[in-house]
């Protein structure tokens, strides 16, 4: 059997799961999870089959390229004259890397949700939506046409909308869902215009063909300049991956159930932007100035979000800002041209952030849906498995060797330094310290010290069921080992071997040659520096918020925290209020936008419609005015006749007399 023909099955399974569960899930009650979970399990198996074949190079070469992979043409979607969109799929190493993350975490989140959502009345609806999301996400990474990617782009947006607003009774959840969708639409607007620009420039929407035409040096003049095209595509990426200034939707999206936050808003959907830019890499590489924009926005988002994460008290919001910050890292990596590092971080981050979110879900579950860390503390004793796995996740994100985050983050920082983007490195370096700090602040507030919530809850805290802890453990394994597996040996890592054919053209366009890795030179020094800053961040967090790790007992110092925040009131308030972006948006779009809309409506009623009504009224009132002449008295009419006669005769005489 051809492995290519498996690709549509990857999509049909979750779509079928969605349709069946949507149709009959209500009647399945607590058994509703079977069809969706089994569908995703099958997807995982099939995807792994494809992934292994692609990454080990046993797959055939793709037509017209030196990349191994599978391609499958399905059907013609839009046949509109010379504009034709075909639905086709391709699994190349880049897609394979994404498939690993999407299917593995997708499967684990499905399993986890069996436990997490078990008390929810709309159990079936949740699983139906999850399958819809998996369908959309798989379509996104598999599609080989820009417009089909856009379709998936919107569909993940839809699933995200449905899942954020899953608890629709909560007004805040419904509003967060709407906000996410609309902010994403802003990015999508850029994306769709970028797609049109690509079509106008190249006459095709096939991703590989169009990029080939766009970057071939023989065709210099395009109707739409290449840098505009690249930046429009990047706008789409900014929306989906929540980069400044379109980052505002992601923290609010935490209104959704926690498995959703783990799957969509940490591990998969938000990576779509990174994937898109990586997919279009030659396009950006052909215009280096656009890459600087990408790097700048990425690194700015990284530090902005890290600064906000330091003071948030909602456990999920800390993680959400952390996600923003890490996504910023990835874009910074893409911007400096460290393509592989970006995908590397995407993969490791997917696993450890998925782990952290699921862990936070377990925490929230155990303390009866409390998300405020100020009402937690000392949970390590009560929920040991959650604690241990989250500790692994935190160490991984903080960049402590040899866990996964260390390798990927270090590669980003090292590459930025070596490629001459010192400012990216410097900011990234600071962010690394902040990351370690806020993660261990979270750990300290949640797991160490004394419990600060009601006694009644403390007594009832218990570890989550196995369907929830097993996924945590399974995610902890790659959080520890994925970095070593993919990132070694330094300088020519496994992952770069996989992805080299994808990024070869971009590197050639930018005129870059692989530099030797110097463990005992510049690279070693950078590694030591970044580990040091992470350790420093952890140390500060321990000093302020306490710890109880491996016999090391430090008590938190809340009074010092208060004093410090009082000493820098502006910075503290800025961080706490998320640099007032939500307020700014509220002012711009709700207040001012609303005024404009009301003004337009008023204009419509009073001016446009007013004119119409005025014409109507004018006709009526002139009729009413003319009616006065109609007195009904014979003599008045006769007088009119007489006058008319005189005027006519008179004028005849006058005119004839001339």
């Amino acid at each position: 059997m051809n492995l290519e023909s498996l690709i549509p099955v990857l999509l049909l399974l979750p779509m079928g799961g969605f349709l069946i569960t949507a149709a009959i899930g209500r009647r399945l009650h607590k058994q509703a999870h079977w069809i969706p979970v089994l569908a995703i399990l099958a997807v995982w198996v099939l995807a792994m089959l494809l992934v292994i074949n692609v990454l080990t190079g046993t797959a055939p070469l793709l037509a017209g390229s030196e990349t191994h992979g599978y391609a499958f043409a399905w059907f013609t979607w839009i046949p509109a004259g010379d504009f034709v969109v075909n639905v086709g799929f391709v699994v190349d190493p880049l897609t394979a890397c994404l498939l690993i993350v999407v299917t593995t975490i997708g499967l684990l989140v499905h399993v986890y949700s069996i436990g997490y959502m078990s008390h929810d009345a709309s159990y079936w609806r949740f699983f139906a939506y999850l399958n819809l999301f998996m369908f959309s996400m798989l379509l996104l990474v598999l599609a080989d046409s820009w417009l089909v990617v856009f379709v998936a782009w919107e569909l993940v947006g839809l699933s995200s909308y449905l899942l954020i607003g899953f608890w629709f009774r909560k007004r805040s959840a419904a509003l967060a869902a709407k906000k996410a969708f609309i902010v994403n639409r802003v990015g999508d607007l850029g994306f769709i215009l970028g797609i049109m620009a690509i079509f106008v420039n190249t006459g095709t929407l096939d991703i590989r063909d169009s990029i080939h035409i766009l970057t071939s040096p023989t065709l210099a003049a395009f109707p739409i300049p290449l840098w505009i095209t690249a930046l429009l595509i990047f706008t789409g990426a900014m929306g989906k991956s929540a980069q400044f200034p379109l980052h505002v939707w992601l923290p609010d999206a935490m209104e959704g159930p926690t498995p959703v936050s783990a799957l969509i808003h940490a591990a998969t959907m938000v990576n779509a932007g990174v994937y898109l830019v990586a997919r279009a890499n030659p396009l950006f590489a052909a215009v280096p100035s656009t890459m600087v924009v990408v790097a700048a926005i990425g690194i700015f988002t990284a530090i902005l979000a890290a600064s906000i994460a330091m003071t948030q008290t909602d456990i999920k919001r800390v993680l959400a800002y952390s996600t923003l910050s890490q996504l910023g890292y990835m874009f910074a990596a893409l911007g400096v041209g460290a393509w592989t590092a970006a995908i590397f971080h995407l993969m490791t981050h997917g696993f450890f952030k998925g782990l952290l979110f699921l862990g936070s879900g377990s925490v929230i579950h155990s303390v009866h849906e409390e998300q405020d860390m100020r009402k937690m503390g000392g949970l390590a004793k009560k929920i040991p498995i959650t604690y241990a796995t989250m500790l692994i996740g935190s160490l991984a994100i903080a960049g402590i060797p040899p866990l996964a985050g260390f390798f990927s983050k270090d590669e980003i920082l090292g590459e930025s330094f070596k490629l001459g983007f010192l400012w990216v490195w410097a900011i990234g370096f600071v962010v690394a310290g902040l990351t370690a700090f806020y993660m261990f602040r979270l750990m300290g507030l949640t797991f160490w010290g004394e419990f600060r919530g009601p006694k009644a809850i403390w007594d009832k805290i218990h570890e989550s069921p196995w369907v929830m802890t097993v996924p945590l453990i399974l995610l902890a394994i790659p959080s520890i080992g994925l970095g070593m597996a993919l990132g070694l040996p330094f300088g020519s890592s496994t992952l770069s071997g996989w992805l080299e054919p994808i990024f070869r053209q971009a590197d050639t366009l930018m005129g870059r040659a692989a530099e030797p890795f110097a463990l005992f030179g510049i690279d070693g020094a950078l590694i030591i520096l970044s580990v040091a800053v992470a350790a420093a961040g952890i140390a500060v967090a321990w000093r302020l918020f306490g710890t109880n790790l491996l016999g090391l007992r430090i008590k938190g110092r809340p009074e010092t925290v208060t004093a410090m925040s009082a000493r820098a009131p502006f910075l503290y308030r800025a961080s706490l209020n998320k640099w007032w972006f939500d307020d700014l948006n509220h002012l711009l779009f709700m207040v001012i936008g609303g005024r404009i809309a009301y003004a337009a409506w008023w204009f419509d009623r009073e001016v446009v419609d007013g004119t119409v009504n005025a014409i109507g009224r004018g006709t009526v009132s002139s009729g009413r005015g003319l009616r006065r002449i109609q007195t009904g008295r014979v003599q008045n009419y006769a007088l009119g006749i007489a006058i008319g006669l005189i005027v006519m005769a008179g004028s005849y005489l006058v005119l004839a007399g001339r």
């Binding site: 109609q630 007195t631 009904g632 008295r633 014979v634 003599q635 006769a638 007088l639 007489a642």
Partner: protein, 103 residues
């Protein structure tokens, strides 16, 4: 001057002016009808004068005048009947009160 057309026309004009003044100024319906008669006869006078003074018209002027008289007779009959009918309803001969047609 008696053999000049102008004299007859002036007389007809004066009669017509008196008749139209009467029609416009009198409020009594009967008087108005009488004024109408006056105007009609003024016109008749003019027509007959034309008939007498312009040979090519032959007897046509007289014929038209006879027609006008017949029509006038009919008109007066109907008019008087209407006036009387309204008078019976409204108990007044004054046309100011007759504004039913306005409604």
């Amino acid at each position: 001057m008696s053999d000049s057309l102008d004299a007859y026309l002036v007389l007809a004009g004066i009669l017509f002016a008196i008749g139209s003044f009467g029609f416009l100024a009198r409020r009594n319906a009967i008087s108005m009808l009488m004024s109408v008669e006056l105007m009609l006869n003024a016109t008749n006078l003019a027509i007959i004068a034309f008939g007498a003074f312009i040979p090519s018209l032959g007897a046509q002027g007289s014929v038209i005048a006879l027609m006008v008289m017949a029509v006038a007779a009919g008109e007066v009959t109907v008019g008087l009947a209407i006036v009387i009918a309204i008078y019976r309803n409204k108990r007044t001969p004054l046309v100011d009160e007759y504004d039913e047609m306005r409604r």
